[in-house]
């Protein structure tokens, strides 16, 4: 005898690794994610040959959100909304800023947890998480932060994802989609899903880089709305290890953002200066 059981236990996952991706996703640029192994059978290859190419799907997505000119016309974006950890009673305000070419700053505050800050100032990626403290991002996490902070990444896919391949026509979140495998410059794979009818990217599956390692992630993009000639998703749902968090955008502005907005907080700036001093010292020691 088997009985159905609906669990009410949930877990949550606010924190680093998600914030940069949030900006990217809500601006309809791809998240860095990793997909499974590619199909290898001849039959599958034949089917793939009949599929739209990855570049065609990306181009269709660009058109669906307003076209390349509309995207380029937007130099700054500020989004304000709310982050919620589903079923956990955890929620708080979220504010995200992004400017071309690659500046980002995000702030999420959760009662009882504190304020999570994350940014990329064109060179340095950083995060201040109340649990782990201020931290400069390095290696894969830094590369991800840099990529996700590019406001017009969707127009630069060739550069950031040297390999792009449509793998199948399938379903994602019960919607008909084309799956596109992307391989970034670090060799990491990701799968993005483009709606077969609308052309919009509606999600991705893979793993997100974090200082703790790779976290397998599913991201769902919904509620596209037009803002200054460009469609942007207003709901981002991320699932990690059975946990689900949702960011709902309530307001979007494309007003100019002062560069000062992206200046790293004092603690981060001190770490940057210290890192430079250490590197200089190492150079001196070597010479």
């Amino acid at each position: 005898m088997m009985m159905s059981r609906k669990s009410t236990r949930k877990k949550c996952w606010p924190g680093m690794g998600g914030v940069a991706a949030i900006i990217g996703c809500l601006l309809a640029v791809p998240m860095p994610v990793i997909a499974g192994a590619p199909p290898t059978s001849r039959e599958v290859e034949d089917v793939k040959a009949a599929l739209p190419t990855a570049d065609d799907l990306i181009a269709r997505h660009i058109e669906a959100i307003g076209g390349a000119d509309a995207i380029r016309a937007i130099k700054h974006v500020t989004m304000t909304g709310r982050m919620e950890v589903i079923g956990m009673g955890m929620a708080g305000p979220a504010t995200m800023h992004a400017s071309a070419p690659n500046y980002s700053f995000a702030e999420i505050e959760i009662a009882g947890y504190g304020k999570i800050l994350q940014g990329f100032d064109g060179t340095h990626g950083w995060v201040i998480d109340p649990a782990s403290g201020p931290m400069l991002l390095e290696d894969a996490a830094l590369a991800q932060s840099e990529r996700d902070s590019r406001l017009h990444l969707v127009l630069e896919m060739e550069k950031w994802y040297p390999t792009r391949e449509t793998t199948e026509a399938t379903e994602f979140e019960n919607e008909p989609v084309y799956a596109v495998k992307l391989v970034n410059k670090q060799g990491k794979e990701s799968t993005h899903y483009y709606h077969r009818e609308s052309g919009l990217q509606i999600g991705s599956v893979g793993t997100t880089e974090s200082p703790m390692g790779e976290m397998r992630t599913t991201t769902v993009l919904r509620d596209y709305r037009e803002v200054d000639g460009m469609k942007m998703p207003h709901t981002l749902t991320t699932r990690v290890m059975g946990m689900e968090q949702r960011i709902t955008i309530e307001r979007v502005s494309t007003d100019e953002i002062e560069r000062e907005q992206y200046r790293a907080p004092q603690q981060i700036q001190a770490l940057i200066d210290d890192k430079k001093a250490r590197e200089q010292q190492e150079e001196n020691d070597e010479s």
């Binding site: 005898m1 088997m2 009985m3 159905s4 059981r5 609906k6 669990s7 009410t8 236990r9 949930k10 877990k11 949550c12 996952w13 606010p14 924190g15 950890v85 079923g87 956990m88 009673g89 955890m90 959760i110 009662a111 009882g112 947890y113 504190g114 998480d129 109340p130 649990a131 782990s132 403290g133 201020p134 931290m135 200082p211 703790m212 390692g213 976290m215 397998r216 290890m241 946990m243 907080p265 004092q266 603690q267 700036q269 001190a270 770490l271 200066d273 210290d274």
Partner: protein, 507 residues
């Protein structure tokens, strides 16, 4: 060795407000990265029509017993961190035990069947706790007036040697404490610490006294039930929880104690609870918790320290919640140039696991992993973030002096993950007793018959790839409280840590 302890900051004791579910909650969420929480909620009753369709109608009690079995099996099937179930064919186990469950005539029998089934896993943190035992852990019970007939000494309790202090409405309401820390030593509950300035201290209660009854309720019956229901590893933790929650009544209420002093004389003392120090904090659906950090500075005179005065900082906190982060950083700043720091995690039952990366970073200058959490599809590394900048934005070096960590059977979850991890990377020396061995994220789920299923949902391994589950962090220097030493005013685990720091020059 003469210790000159100059008390700093708040010098009152810490007693976490707990209820029956709080400990499991802490254990559950603390082993996860950042705040991963278990929202303990009653498991849904199984669908009766499904059961009837498969097996025909039953009487309600029989149906409930089978439903209890099914739910326990299914919960583990869905949440066990190892998809291979530690080598057990879980489907086959269902087929083997179901007929016995269907034939069971009592809750006791179904409990035994479930425990046999989960016993196949060969892992701790899996088992059924009887409803009556679970009820004994319920915080509400602590507030109920006991029947004086429960305690043959109750009559004389009405004339205590020390009366409760007058009621002060300004100090009433909210979480409270009388300032007592207790531990189960053998088959007795002993006071191991009296918070300076607390109601207990004013009543001149001393460490080393035995606690025999609370509010006319003798503790021996409680100990008897818990001894029968729980395994050895869990027993001390739950005895401590059960007793402590009876002491930590809301501020303004009176706790009536029957004690046995150092001369083995019976003492009857009534204490009025005062507001618990610290900050109430609430994270998501978790119940509010009182988080409190205190520090202490010890000055060891040159005559007792090989010709040179030694300075040692002690940091003690009751739960790993975010609100203690700032105070912890301030404490490290204050002790940064001391000879040693002692982190006292005795009685600290855990909290937000992600904090170990930040707290550990105050003591380590490189990004080292303190352990790995392993679920069915992920491996997450608790990597230390070296704290090279203080809260004022000034560059600092992480503390490089001797680091001692005190643990005991009540140090659970995040506390033992931190202690075990710091020990494994060679950064800290542990003193005290093995920790609770409750480092796994374990949930307690209600079953249809009112029993409670304990079940782990992830594994945690220290940097040596050793699981702390069921084993705990093992002290480098095992030292337990002894009543004789407590009565002499000595904290032997603390003294051992101090001796080690004094005898080892700062690196």
């Amino acid at each position: 060795m003469r210790l000159n302890r100059s008390q700093k900051y708040v010098e009152t004791d810490i007693m976490p407000q707990m209820n029956r579910r709080r400990l499991p909650w802490l254990i559950a969420f603390s082993a996860l990265f950042l705040p991963l929480f278990a929202q303990a909620a009653p498991a849904e009753a199984p669908d009766a029509t499904d059961a009837d369709r498969d097996n025909g109608p039953r009487d309600p009690e029989s149906f409930q017993r089978v439903a209890t079995f099914e739910m326990a099996w299914q919960i583990i099937r869905d949440t066990h961190f190892d998809p291979e179930y530690n080598g057990v064919d879980w489907e086959a186990a269902h087929g083997e035990f179901l007929p016995r469950a269907e034939a069971a005539d009592s809750n006791e029998e179904i409990r035994s069947i479930i425990n046999q089934m989960v016993g196949r896993l060969g892992q701790s943190h899996f088992g059924v706790i009887e409803r009556s035992a679970a009820e004994l852990l319920d915080a509400e019970a602590a507030h109920h007036e006991a029947d004086p007939a429960d305690d043959p000494e109750a009559e004389s309790d009405r004339e205590p040697e020390v009366e409760a202090e007058p009621y002060n409405p300004e100090l009433a309401g909210g979480p409270g404490t009388v300032g007592l820390h207790v531990r189960a030593l053998g088959n007795e509950v002993t006071i191991v610490r009296v918070a300076p300035g607390s109601p207990a201290a004013r009543a001149e209660v001393q460490p080393g006294w035995k606690l025999e009854a609370i509010n006319n309720r003798p503790l021996d019956s409680l100990l008897e039930v818990l001894n029968e229901q729980l395994d050895e590893a869990s027993r001390e933790l739950y005895i401590w929880q059960a007793v402590q929650l009876r002491l930590d009544v809301p501020a303004g209420e009176v706790v009536r104690l029957r004690l046995r002093d150092g001369e083995d004389e019976r003492r009857r003392i009534h204490l009025r609870s005062e507001p618990m120090p610290g900050e109430m904090t609430r994270l998501g659906n978790l119940p509010p918790m009182n988080a409190h950090l205190e520090t202490e500075e010890m000055l060891i005179p040159a005559s007792d320290a090989g010709g040179e005065e030694r300075r040692i900082g002690v940091i003690r906190f009751n739960v790993w919640m975010m609100t203690i982060n700032q105070e912890f950083a301030q404490a490290v700043d204050r002790f940064r140039h001391h000879d040693g720091i002692i982190i006292d995690l005795r009685g600290n039952i855990g909290g937000v696991a992600g904090m170990i990366m930040g707290v550990g970073g105050h003591f380590v200058d490189s990004s080292t992993s303190l352990g790995t959490m392993i679920t069915r599809d992920s491996r997450l590394h608790f990597r230390i973030n070296p704290r090279r900048v203080n809260q004022d934005g000034e560059i600092v070096a992480p503390f490089s002096g001797n680091l001692a960590i005190l643990i005991d059977r009540q140090s659970a979850s995040t506390s033992e993950m931190f202690a075990g991890g710091m020990q494994a990377i060679g950064r800290a020396r542990l003193f005290g007793e093995p920790s609770a061995g409750a480092a796994l994220p374990a949930f307690l789920s209600n079953l249809p018959n009112g029993d409670v299923l304990m079940h782990a949902i992830a594994d945690f391994r220290d940097p040596n790839d050793t699981s702390l589950e069921g084993r705990g962090a093992i002290p480098d220097e095992p030292v337990s409280h002894r009543r004789e030493a407590l009565l002499e005013g000595r904290d032997e685990p603390m003294d051992a840590a101090v001796r080690w720091i004094v005898s080892h020059p700062r690196r």
